[in-house]
């Protein structure tokens, strides 16, 4: 059905809401990437079958939603209207939930979350410590809607920002509102979004483009995927508002090909929006014409850079160009182009609905609103978290993230992806915003937050990022192409025990060259992981070089395995599992490891139940 005016959209919303019984039980099963990998769809199907078997199909809704964020506890389901939070579900748990919670209105205690600190079970999502300190303006909608159903989005107020804009705001007013909100780009650079819009609006040209960067390339970050999968209409609404403000009739969504569900959901959302008259000609009777095309990325990290992404949209290799001519003047096909990332676009309806003043009251002086982080690595509560800008690393990692598993010590947190840096424990009380992260040698990036413990080698981490960037460098400019290669060689030498102290000065020099002379952001920020680890963890570099030791026990060339005859029970498990036949020994007699044959795969260390394998 086509909605022909802004009033009609409001009438449709009233109609949808009137048809909804807010007391009707609903089982919202998380279908985010983490839960999907844990077979949540089987759990969902079990709910469907169980509800049908009990003859309750008309009385209970079952919704497959986008990511709820708490991946560590997946598969997750929320039971509305009470918002009961059930975790780590299996197909076997389903009959009990239906019988106890849906039919008898009681909780199934064994499936609830236990707050260890308070020593009690918690019933609702909001009481779970992981969620309690968050401010889920963007992600909070995911559990409330079925991403395949535009009516669900409209029911929670979706497209009301578009109604507000088309119903009575001039394009310039919209630009001003975004400028006044203080929002900065969520994709990496943190450029003020309103200023970008203004430049593109003011640029000469009849044809202008708005583009959504959904080529989430930062390893360790998956927030854009979760927004696109869980709430694609919020991104579309932001883009339509942007098109109106900028004066564009054509847009692109550039989605990573590795995200098939995100592709499916955004394509479906576009189709639904077209059918509803929210995309196409004369949107809501306002005279605005705007439509969108979806392009799939080719798996190149450098395409997160705006000019490389635009080259790729033109069907060319994703090589960046120098930016003395801004893309807001000459971008895609040399026409004015405005590119923002998924999370930025999803923030736009919030700003319009609640106003710039409301938005700018959240966050810090220079960084407004909330930010979604993917909290991963050596941390108890892995998942997606959304917090106001300015929250400290300690609050995010310990209060929300629940600290480090296995009683290990926190060593560092890496933010900003390959362009970012490693922040040490001494800076754990740092408030997280764009400028504070840059000050300490890291950056916001797209919001990856990888936690590292005492078993993580910081030289190995630096080498990891340099290898990553070396592979992803497009090769167009010499400093990046050659500099990364040489830096990788030097770091490899250090991790393999061939390093010299002079190498550290050489790395420093190379870093300066990359920073100053590279063509695009990839090369300019590439030294960050090395420089930050060298600054905060120089002792680890020196241990590798001077003592030929890897203190964290990671760099294989610098560690040796042996068997402690005192602890070895002769169970034979390591002997059986060793791929190199390096272990010998009689049953029930202490075994012996031949260091000459050992390939240092670490399997014996992992399988031994008696702490008899020593790594040093």
């Amino acid at each position: 059905m086509k909605v022909i005016s802004v009033n009609k959209l409001e009438a449709l919303r009233t109609e949808i809401l009137a048809g909804k019984d807010l007391d009707k039980p609903c089982i919202a099963v998380c279908g985010g990437p983490g839960c999907l990998a844990n077979q949540c769809l089987e759990v969902r199907d079990a709910f469907v079958n169980e509800i049908a078997a009990k003859g309750l199909t008309d009385k209970v809704d079952i919704r497959t939603t986008g990511c709820h964020g708490f991946c560590e506890r997946g598969p997750i389901a929320l039971i509305y209207p009470q918002e009961i939070f059930y975790q780590k579900l299996t197909v076997e748990d389903v009959p009990e939930i239906v019988e106890q919670t849906i039919v008898n209105n009681k909780t199934v205690d064994r499936l609830l979350y236990t707050d260890d600190e308070a020593g009690q079970l918690v019933e609702t999502e909001g009481e779970v410590p992981f969620y309690k300190k968050q401010m889920r303006l963007i992600l909070g909608s995911n559990s409330k809607i079925d991403p395949h159903n535009i009516e669900d989005y409209i029911a929670i107020g979706g497209y009301s920002a578009l109604v507000k804009v088309l119903g009575g705001m001039q394009p310039l007013e919209v630009v001003d509102e975004i400028k006044n909100s203080g929002i900065r780009g969520r994709g990496g650079g943190g450029f003020p979004t309103g200023r970008k819009w203004e430049s593109t609006r003011n640029a000469q040209g009849d044809i202008k483009y708005v583009i959504c960067n959904a080529d989430e390339g930062d390893p360790g970050a998956f927030m854009d995927r979760s927004i696109l999968e869980g709430n694609p209409h919020s991104v579309l609404e932001g883009m339509i508002i942007g098109a109106y403000a900028i004066g564009s009739n054509e847009g692109y969504v550039y989605v990573r090909n590795e995200y098939p569900l995100a592709l499916k959901n955004i394509n479906l959302a576009i189709k639904q929006a077209r059918e509803a008259g929210l995309l196409g000609d004369n949107i809501l009777g306002s005279g605005l014409n705007f439509d969108l095309k979806v392009n799939r990325g080719g798996g190149a990290f450098v395409c997160g850079e705006s000019t490389a992404l635009m080259a790729s949209l033109e069907g060319k290799p994703g090589e960046p160009r120098a930016k003395y001519i801004h893309t807001s003047d000459k971008g895609l096909w040399d026409r004015p182009s405005n590119l923002n990332n998924v999370e930025t676009w999803a923030n736009i309806p919030l700003i319009i609905n609640n106003g710039a003043d409301w938005y700018s009251a959240i966050g810090t002086e220079s960084s407004k609103g909330t930010k979604v982080f993917s909290l991963v690595g050596k941390i108890n509560n892995t998942g997606l978290v959304e917090v106001p800008m300015g929250m400290t690393l300690r609050e995010i990692i310990f209060d929300i993230g629940g600290g480090i598993p296995g009683g290990k010590a926190f060593k560092a947190v890496q933010t900003g992806g390959p362009s970012g840096g490693c922040i040490p424990e001494s800076l754990i009380d740092l408030p997280v915003d764009y400028d504070r992260l840059t000050e300490v040698g890291s950056m916001m990036g797209s919001g990856g937050m990888i936690v590292m413990d005492e078993d993580t080698c910081m030289v190995d981490v630096a080498l990891y990022f340099i290898n990553f960037l070396m592979e992803e460098s497009c090769g167009k400019c010499v400093p990046c192409r050659e500099g990364l290669l040489r830096m990788g060689e030097i770091l490899t030498d250090i991790t393999e025990g061939r390093g010299q102290m002079e190498d550290l000065d050489l790395i420093q020099d190379l870093s300066e060259v990359l920073k100053d002379a590279s063509l695009c952001g990839l090369g300019q920020t590439a030294p960050n992981p090395v420089m930050s680890t060298l600054k905060y963890f120089r002792d680890e570099y020196e241990a590798h070089i001077k003592d030929h030791k890897c203190p964290a026990g990671v760099c294989t060339e610098l560690i040796t395995y042996s068997i402690d005859a005192g602890n070895c029970t002769g169970c034979g498990l390591c002997l059986k599992k060793c791929p190199a036949e390096a272990i010998t020994g009689e049953t029930k007699q202490p075994h012996v490891l031949d260091a000459g044959k050992c390939i240092k795969c670490g399997i014996c260390y992992d399988v031994c139940k008696f702490d008899a394998v020593i790594k040093e």
Binding site: P33, G34, L36, A37, N38, C71, E72, G74, E216, G217, D218, P219, G220, A221, F222, R225, N257, E258, Y259, N295, R296, G297, G298, G299, A300, F301, S312, L313, E314, G315, K316, P317, G318, S374, V376, G377, K378, T382, G383, Q414, G417, G448, I450, M452, T456, V461, Y464, F465, F468, E472, C474, K577, P579, C601, G602, I603, D606, V607
Partner: protein, 151 residues
């Protein structure tokens, strides 16, 4: 494998033979043949009326494309940062030993292709191995054997 020109044409026509859709066209061809046969690249260049160097440039620039046929079973080891700090390198090395190939290669019998991927976005479950689109989380070198034997 030889390509079927009418199949290629139907893919190209879906995108109105637009040069701007080159990447999408190559993705669809790869989905059809599991890799990009050389003659398909020649055909695309002709139909889109663009230089062959542009088609080969794109086909070799992006990681998603392969000019070599791939195995029946595709194993992708996630090398994202979260997976790395949890030991994905050791998982990859064990897979390389067990399959007797290096990452990027296909076993001689054409059964397995082993590849690395920068991040599959399931960071909470790291290290992750994706086997024919099925995700296996919390992988360890020890679990590699049962993963391969389950097929």
């Amino acid at each position: 494998m030889t390509t079927n020109e009418s199949k290629l044409d139907s893919i190209i026509d879906e995108y109105n033979a637009e040069p701007g859709s080159l990447i999408s066209i190559l993705q669809d061809i790869q989905a059809e043949y599991n890799y990009l046969p050389e003659e398909s690249l020649e055909h695309v260049a002709k139909r889109l009326d663009i230089p062959r160097v542009q088609v080969f440039g794109v086909a070799t620039f992006f990681k998603t494309f392969s000019l070599k046929p791939k195995g029946k079973q595709q194993i992708h080891v996630c090398m994202g940062t979260a997976c790395h700090v949890r030991g994905s390198k050791k998982v990859l090395e064990e897979l390389e030993r067990k399959l007797e190939i290096k990452a990027g290669d296909t076993t001689q019998d054409g059964e397995y292709t082993l590849e690395t991927v920068n991040c599959v976005g399931a960071c909470a479950l790291g290290p992750v191995v994706v086997e024919n689109e099925e995700y296996h989380g919390q992988m360890t070198p020890i679990k590699v054997e049962s993963l391969l034997n389950s097929k």
